[in-house]
């Protein structure tokens, strides 16, 4: 992988992304909301790192903060030792919303524009790289289609191709499959895993689905809600039996408060 060559100077033994004691707050018109409280975790190269938690645990906010859209009120986020201060093409986002593609550009132009705008590549290389990744997500036949003519799953695949074409240090995925139907979602999860087998990119993936976390992830960070705090950091299961056990374990960890409360009543 080319990105791996570019960044060869950075040792694999230290974390690629390091989140230290990050507290995030954001303002609504009436209140100041604390989204996460002193969250710590490390992502290493090649990780499929999952942020898992119920809605309201601040996992999306945390991802946006890693993306550079929101500065932590406390703690630091650093990528390859450098503190994250603003959005940049070294951390490509894949959003949940289907409108993340630029509607005035075709599939090919969308991927190419990311490379041009961020000045990652020049000239002929841009198109070659774009088509390489469009081909990887099996959309070569639709390279000249406009996004509004594509299905939801295809749009998400373009967004993934665009993110991967930039060959970022880390790919940030914010519930990318949440708006898809169940069948397409399973297919996309499989495709993402086979893409990972080929290129071994690093991904930070937000989801609220326990099965998705177990299937897609290699390491899972469990967050508790209101505000988000680290509950556990787990390895994923290797076998189907272990997956079922892990799902039960996570379910228990996420809902034990509720169970305890229910028992006290």
């Amino acid at each position: 992988m080319r990105a791996a060559l570019d960044t060869a100077a950075y040792p694999d033994t230290s974390p690629l992304l390091s989140v230290r004691g990050v507290t995030l707050q954001y303002k609504t018109p009436k209140t100041l909301v604390m989204a996460t409280y002193r969250v710590d975790f490390d992502v290493f190269r090649g990780d499929r790192f999952i942020l898992l938690g119920p809605s309201g645990c601040g996992k999306s906010t945390l991802l946006k903060s890693v993306g550079g859209y929101l500065a932590p009120t406390e703690g630091t986020i650093s990528l390859k030792g450098k503190t994250v201060t603003r959005p940049g093409p070294d951390r490509m986002m894949v959003f949940q919303e289907f409108d993340q593609l630029l509607p005035w550009k075709t599939v090919r132009q969308n991927v190419m524009f990311a490379l041009q705008a961020s000045r990652r590549l020049y000239g002929k290389e841009i198109e070659d790289r774009a088509m390489h990744y469009i081909d990887k997500v099996n959309l070569s036949a639709f390279a000249d289609s406009y996004p509004h003519t594509l299905s939801g799953g295809m749009k998400q695949r373009v967004a993934i191709a665009r993110g991967m074409a930039m060959e970022p240090d880390i790919l940030l995925m914010d519930e990318p499959f949440a708006a898809l139907d169940a069948l397409t979602r399973r297919k996309m999860q499989d495709e993402l895993l086979s893409l990972w087998d080929e290129t071994r990119f690093t991904v930070l993936f937000v989801t609220h689905s326990i099965p998705e976390a177990i299937k897609v992830g290699s390491r899972i960070l469990l967050l508790s809600p209101h505000p988000g705090q680290v509950k556990a950091e787990l390895e994923t299961a290797a076998t189907p039996e272990a997956a079922i056990a892990l799902e039960k374990r996570i379910q228990h960890m996420l809902f034990e408060d509720e169970i305890a409360r229910a028992e006290n009543v």
């Binding site: 959005p87 986002m93 959003f95 630029l102 005035w104 705008a117 326990i210 099965p211 799902e247």
Partner: protein, 302 residues
């Protein structure tokens, strides 16, 4: 997925229904067994589906009604017939008078339109970069948008004298506010996701505005341009009618005014006809084509 994994636990739901039934698995029928999958529509239906054909039919009917009423009234001083108007129209075109006047109007209009858009761009740029700019634009727009441009003409005549200066002033006023208002509201309605995507690419400042905000807000910008054009065209003709009397060359408004004074009513109608034709041409040729190649192709407007 979760229901798949927990399926084993729900076995007790598999109780037999009242009537026992066997499972059914079928192959889909061969395509050649269907008599019709797709069939072209009839010629009339296809013609009727064309909007321009329907509109031409309406225009022909209107022209017919006009001709019949004109002949029945038989008073060319009040209401010339359609054929007399068309005749006067082609006579004025052949003599070069009408094209000359039309060009004089369009020339002033284009200058005013361009200046108005430039001013709108500056105001909108100020509005998206600072909060005070937003307040300025909102206050100015709410104050000046309802003010008819033609009401400023007496003032313009004092400031800029007779001639194109005054015309351009009122034109700028009629274009700027609608374009600025629509562009600004377009920028505000650009989805948060698209904005985040643009910043993810590392775009900032002018490149961010030109490459993300402008295309994303293009439907609104186009609407603003269309409204601005319609306002400008009306304002111009009205302004020419008011003070065309003393302007040397004069435009279409002056042509209408002059022919009214000569009691050549067929020519007055020909002048009005030209005003309509130019308005239609710009709407249908320029803006429609622009729309088809941009917002419609991008699926931002059906």
């Amino acid at each position: 997925m979760s229901d798949m994994l927990t399926h084993g636990g729900s076995g007790h739901r598999k109780q037999a229904a009242v009537v026992p039934r066997s499972e059914v698995v079928r192959e889909p029928a061969e395509t050649r067994e269907f008599s019709v999958v797709e069939k072209p529509l009839s010629l009339f239906e296809r013609l009727y589906n064309q909007a321009w054909i329907r509109k031409v039919v309406i225009l022909v009917l209107l022209a017919g009604v006009w001709e019949i009423y004109g002949r029945w009234l038989n008073n060319p001083l009040l209401f010339p017939t359609f054929s007399a108007t068309i005749e006067a129209f082609f006579r004025s075109i052949a003599s070069g008078e009408l094209p000359g006047k039309a060009w004089a109007s369009i020339h002033v209009l284009l200058i005013g339109y361009a200046c108005g858009i430039a001013l709108a761009a500056v105001l909108t740029a100020a509005a998206i970069t600072s909060r005070i700019g937003t307040d300025f634009l909102e206050t100015m727009t709410s104050m000046l948008n309802p003010l008819p441009a033609i009401a400023l003409l007496p003032l313009a005549l004092i400031w800029f004298g007779l001639g194109n200066g005054s015309l351009i002033f009122v034109l700028v006023h009629s274009v700027t506010w609608s374009v600025a208002l629509n562009t600004h509201s377009g920028f505000l309605s650009v989805s948060n996701t698209l904005k985040m995507v643009g910043r993810n690419y590392g775009l900032r400042g002018g490149r961010y505005v030109l490459q993300i905000l402008v295309p994303a807000a293009f439907p609104s910008i186009l609407t603003g341009l269309k409204i601005g054009w319609a306002f400008a065209w009306r304002t111009l003709i009205a302004a020419e009618l008011v003070f065309g009397v003393s302007a040397g060359s004069g435009g279409l408004g002056w042509f209408i005014y002059e022919n009214k004074n000569l009691l050549d009513i067929a020519n007055v109608f020909a002048g009005l006809f030209t005003v309509i034709l130019i308005g239609l041409a710009v709407e249908n040729l320029i803006f429609r084509v622009l729309e088809r190649h941009t917002v419609q192709r991008w699926g931002m407007q059906s």
